[in-house]
């Protein structure tokens, strides 16, 4: 029953093991624990008295208080323009707890009274209509378990030297949730889009009145007006009481605090789709409407701050996602890209969602560069760093999705490296 590292089937260089192995290694680990506690009849301190009672709302363990959104960046002179990031290195699975969902606001979080808030659909429609929350919860509801990623996520990787920061600080402008709400197509059909209507312009009810143009095609395909996040009403930071959610597309276009939708014959060319969120090229030209988020993966563990204290078998874990659909495959290298082996994917492989991957690694205690590379169901492959830069302006940091590497040192600490 007990496995020794000698039984492990190598899958690639420097100790990377067959993707089925880490399951056995995990089982062996817990067996060891059972044996150690079997003999004695002792109670831990917390089992000697009844514990605390129930309460109206839960909170994480005080021992996990360090699991907080990180790298809060604020635009100078403002209190509400900036971003906070999901602490990816401390999380597992594919759902981001709502309290840790990343934030990106352009003028803070509005304090909206849901009884006074309405969504108005107007413009090139036969019947301009308004909907309040009470009306929207009576519509046939849908659920989307999907990621949301800011197109500026990982943008710091365009810097000449690798920044030394945690996984979440670098890559934490991505989160995934179960978003519940009403298909936007149902509301648009009710308003009756005129044949000339080809786009819509969505406005938020924040102080910046954040505004983005959305092709009607996407609105009628899989867009929703979301009311729920992970089973509860949206958090204020995520658009309470209602937001647009456009699966797989850059986060900024999923306008929060959704207030108006104007159906138009073309895009409005708002500030946040021209001045910002457009992708500058090396030749000085720029791309507008670069909507889908490219296929991407990142190893969340090990990563900076998570120390490997002794040699032996470890689980490499990470997340992969693609705005085009499902993740088909994730490959891992622990020798700087010389050899690769497939990671195991957790059972929930959903379209346009985070997919959790894992691999087993028998670390010999030596310095190693570990990397992951994702492929999606359309055949798109996560680019290496060099090819991501092809044709890009040095000033562009949007849509960075290249293969990312951590260097595990002999001291068991991970640092960020470029390969």
């Amino acid at each position: 029953m007990k496995t020794s590292p000698d039984d492990f089937v190598p899958a690639a260089g420097n100790g990377l093991l067959d993707r089925r192995v880490f399951l056995r290694a995990g089982a062996a680990g817990s067996l060891g624990l059972l044996a150690a506690s079997a003999g004695a009849q002792e109670r831990p301190a917390w089992a000697k008295l009844p514990g605390e009672g129930m309460g109206p709302a839960g909170a994480p363990s005080k021992h996990e208080a360090h699991i907080r959104r990180g790298h809060l960046s604020l635009q100078t002179g403002t209190t509400g323009s900036g971003a906070s990031r999901t602490p990816l290195e401390f999380l597992d699975g594919i759902i981001t707890p709502s309290r840790l969902h990343f934030e990106r606001h352009h003028s803070g979080i509005p304090d909206i009274d849901p009884r006074l808030h309405k969504l108005v659909i107007h413009g090139l429609v036969r019947r301009p209509l308004e909907f309040d929350v009470d009306a929207l919860v009576r519509y046939p509801a849908v659920s989307r378990i999907q990621f949301l990623e800011c197109s500026g996520n990982s943008g710091v990787l365009t810097a000449a030297e690798p920044v030394q920061a945690s996984c979440g600080s670098i890559h934490g402008l991505v989160s995934a949730s179960e978003w519940g709400g009403v298909p936007l197509s149902v509301l648009l059909d009710e308003a009756g889009v005129e044949p000339r209507g080809k786009w819509l312009v969505a406005d938020g009810a924040d102080a910046a009145m954040m505004s983005r143009s959305v092709p009607l095609e996407k609105a009628m395909d899989d867009a929703i007006v979301a009311l729920y996040q992970n089973g509860e009403p949206l958090r204020p930071a995520n658009g309470y009481p209602m937001r647009l959610f456009l699966p797989g597309w850059e986060g900024n276009i999923s306008v929060k605090w959704l207030r108006t939708i104007k159906v138009t014959d073309g895009p409005a060319m708002t500030r946040d789709e021209t001045s910002k969120y457009s992708d500058l090229r090396e030749d000085g030209s720029a791309r507008l409407f670069t909507f889908p988020m490219g296929v991407k993966s990142v190893i969340t563990s090990p990563s900076p701050g998570l120390t490997m204290r002794q040699r032996g078998v470890y689980q490499i874990a990470g997340i992969a996602w693609s705005g085009a659909g499902r993740i088909a495959r994730v490959q891992i290298s622990v020798d700087g890209g010389n050899s690769w082996a497939d990671a195991a994917l957790d059972e929930h492989v959903l379209p346009k969602c985070l997919t959790r991957f894992r691999a087993a690694w028998n670390w010999d205690g030596g310095p190693s560069v570990i990397m992951s590379r994702a492929l999606d169901e359309t055949g798109a492959i996560q680019p290496d760093r060099g090819s991501w830069f092809d044709g890009q302006s040095r000033g562009n940091f949007y849509h960075y999705n290249a293969v990312h590497a951590w260097q595990v040192g002999a001291d068991g600490e991970s640092t960020h490296v470029y390969v």
Partner: protein
């Protein structure tokens, strides 16, 4: 097949048919005057622009009062975004994307100032003042001259230096 699984699939069938039921039709009609109150969209062809006008010189005084603290003298950058200059820098290693060097449409300036600026008190400027500030920001970018007066006709006619600098990634 047992009884319970038969009734189970019957229930599933019901759920499936209600899920594709038509909209309950709960949207309330909205009047034109209500729509005007909350329609902030300005299109590149100028539709959505309100009545009113303002000159670059009027805008200069307004800029000094409402904007200079964050955007600097002549919009050359303070603690927040630089609004002027950077012309010819886009293809270099240090591109400076400003209203003048980068933005494809002048209408976006009116649209954005009306929505979001000044940062601490958006919604406090009149349409005349927003036209004047728009004219001033274009003036410091050498796109219009100091006597330029902008209104709903003149603004969409302003041609931005980088108007041809963009291609669409999304293909309708």
């Amino acid at each position: 097949m047992s009884m319970s699984s038969i009734s189970g699939s019957a229930i599933l069938l019901c759920i499936a048919t209600t899920a594709i039921a038509e909209s309950p039709g709960l949207g309330e009609p909205v009047s034109q005057s209500e729509i005007e109150q909350l329609d902030f969209v300005v299109m590149p062809d100028g539709s959505g622009l309100p009545a009113g006008s303002g000159t670059a010189m009027e805008g200069q005084a307004l800029f000094a009062t409402h904007c200079i603290a964050c955007h600097g003298e002549d919009g050359t950058g303070g603690i927040n975004d630089r609004l002027a200059g950077g012309h010819g820098s886009l293809a270099t290693d240090a591109p400076a994307k400003t209203v003048g060097s980068y933005w494809p449409y002048a209408t976006t300036l009116f649209d954005y100032i009306r929505r979001a600026m000044p940062y601490q008190s958006p919604g406090t400027l009149t349409p005349d003042e927003i036209y004047a500030l728009t004219a001033y920001v274009l003036f410091i970018n050498e796109i219009v001259d100091e006597n330029a007066e902008l209104d709903a006709e003149a603004l969409p006619a302003v041609r931005m230096p980088n108007a041809d600098g963009f291609t669409w990634d999304y293909q309708p």
